[in-house]
Amino acid sequence: MTTGDRQRTRMGLAFVSPWIVGLAAFTIYPIAASLYYSFCDYDVLSKPVWVGLLNYRDMASDQVFWKSVANTLLFNVMALPLGLVSALALALLLNQPVRARGTFRAIYYLPSLVPAVASAMIWLWILNGRLGLLNAALATVGVHHPPQWLADPAWTKPSLAIMSVWGCGNTVVIYLAALQGVPRSLLEAAMIDGASAWDRLVHVTLPAISPVIYFNLIIGIIGGLQVFVSAFIMWGGGGPDRSVLFYAVYLYQNAFEYRQMGYACAMAWMLCLLILALTWLASVSSRRLVFYQGD
């Protein structure tokens, strides 16, 4: 190492030092501590007591835990494809050369900016079974026994899925950026060869943006498994028949309501494994479907 090298390394470390401090205090230490606590009986007030695998064994026999896993997976099976497809459809529409395109884009994007608490309040009001706008609208088209969106365990997850479509503007913008990158030459060549709009979409556009669809899918899985705020605000403790007791909600309850911090940490690590497993599954199953230009 020359003097210049050493000097540059010192300089580089100096610039990144705020991050290194943060890394130690807010990432590495908590990760290590969390792993340790997951093998302990810990309530934050007193010292953690080592209990070995007890938390993990408790989890295996905890009916509520499995309910929260099932809720979370079921919700994602509904919301994830719905969100990806509707965001893609909106992006395709917004990519057309229409007037007032900027205004349309702003309208579709705005809901994604709404604070989660405020959007929870708005939807609590709209989905209200007796007084809500949605059921009033359904009544005008002849649905006289509309769903009890918030009170019927069968409808609480679809309600949240509808809400998440309303807030899909971020995904739309990411798709739009990708659509702009689809090579015009390919689309024009397909047009000259007489391919229909649908064929161009399926055989040119979708393959060209497949890496971004994949990116949105992964981001969706990671976020979807941690869904918390809207369910927590709208139903508090898990809703009718615990139908919206999601993984993160139950984890929060264990940590801050039941003060079973060790159990909560063990749950957090299982969540990590779940995320890893599902993203791995997604990457394996989409390997043949994702097409990287220049590969």
Partner: protein, 370 residues
């Protein structure tokens, strides 16, 4: 064919836009209504003010049900308020329902209503004085209740405190995040040094750590520091740079020609001066994006304040809004709730409309470069 395709596109776009706007419109519509109209079914979009003759003068009234058949306005013995009874069910000073015993009543007046000229029950605003009058004598006009906004602020106790706390957190986080993330991004992009790329890999890896994993130990750490119940856990960390923003800024810093820094170095310019006086000014758009995202993130944050704040006086607007839902006596006052929600959403929407370009470019950057 092309015209019909274009028409379909517009139709879908407009219909979709209507659906996406409807929740906002309904929020504002409810925010501007008196409670009884907010709870009325079927709902109306615009708040109205009703006036009718009551106690011998025209005054603001609350409309009740319509009466569409010949009836009487009668007071049951011992009852506090008169009621509308079908004319043919009242005979010889008594109400004779189809089933059950007769009830003695005093008929106050006849109500010669029919389907073509209905009457309407009305009451004064406190609901004390009641009457039934020809429907045609009830006048109504659109009247938006703007006073609901100050009242909602009053209903959300300590609103000024919540606002001040939220703004303070926003400012601290924006300053902390922009400064520290820019410094760190500079170190990861504009200087060549030994462990740079492996450390940057580590930085990217930290983005994958789900928050629940670090949640409990962070709480323990802040508790040990005596910071629970203060705002500190919600901003101190922002001065340690966040991985996502470092990544975003690094992408931008790398596009600035190296020669610029080299020339400055040859002129004897120190590394920090190059950062502060050459690179930062060139990267203003990217810094604006980071500042905007940070502001939004803090303004919208719910979980952080929920975990770390214990005292009502330290709450943020997000927590305050939630308090309105849980502490109301009786039913939720939806008109005030929607007014408060509007107030919480308004700054975010305004900021977006002002800085739309930066937003869209910033989000696109996260998707395409990842």
């Amino acid at each position: 064919m092309r015209i019909s395709a274009k028409l379909t596109t517009y139709l879908l776009l407009v219909a979709g836009a209507a659906v996406f706007i409807a929740p906002f419109a309904w929020m504002v519509s409810t925010a501007l209504k008196p409670l009884d109209q907010a709870l009325a079914m079927p709902p109306e979009w615009l708040a109205r003010r009703y006036e009718a003759p009551l106690d011998g003068r025209i005054q603001e009234v609350r409309p009740g049900p319509l009466v569409t058949g010949p009836s009487v306005w009668a007071l049951e013995r011992g009852a506090a308020q008169p009621v509308v009874l079908a004319e043919d069910s009242v005979r010889a000073g008594a109400w004779r329902p189809a089933a059950g015993p007769a009830v003695p009543v005093d008929v106050l007046k006849r109500v010669p209503a029919s389907a073509s000229s209905p009457w309407r029950e009305i009451s004064d605003l406190p609901g004390v004085r009641r009457d039934v009058v020809p429907s045609a004598s009830v006048s109504s006009r659109v009247a938006l209740r703007w006073e609901n906004f100050p009242r909602a602020v009053g209903a959300m106790r300590r609103f000024p405190r919540y606002l001040a706390n939220t703004l303070a957190l926003c400012v601290l986080n924006v300053v902390g995040t922009v400064l520290s993330s820019a410094l760190v991004a500079y170190g990861f992009s504009r200087i060549e040094w030994r462990w740079r790329d492996s450390l940057f890999g580590l930085l990217l890896a930290t983005m994958m750590v789900p928050f629940p994993v670090v949640m409990v130990p962070l709480y323990g750490l802040f508790r040990w520091l005596g910071w629970i119940g203060t705002l500190r856990p919600l901003w101190v960390g922002s001065f340690c740079a966040s991985a996502f923003n470092v990544f975003l800024l690094r992408q931008f810093f790398r596009t600035i020609p190296k020669d610029l820094s080299e020339a400055a170095r040859i002129d004897g310019c120190g590394e920090f001066r190059i950062f502060w006086q050459i690179v930062l000014p060139l990267c203003r758009p990217a810094l604006v994006v980071v500042a905007l995202f940070t502001f939004m993130g803090v303004w919208n944050d719910f979980l952080g304040p929920l975990i770390y704040l214990t005292d009502d006086r330290d709450f943020t607007l997000a927590l305050g809004l939630r308090m309105m839902q849980t502490t109301g006596s009786g039913g939720i006052e939806w008109n005030y709730m929607m007014a408060a929600s509007t107030l919480v959403i308004l700054p975010v929407v305004a900021l977006f409309l002002v800085a739309q370009r930066s937003f869209v470019e910033g989000i696109a950057l996260t998707g395409t470069k990842a």
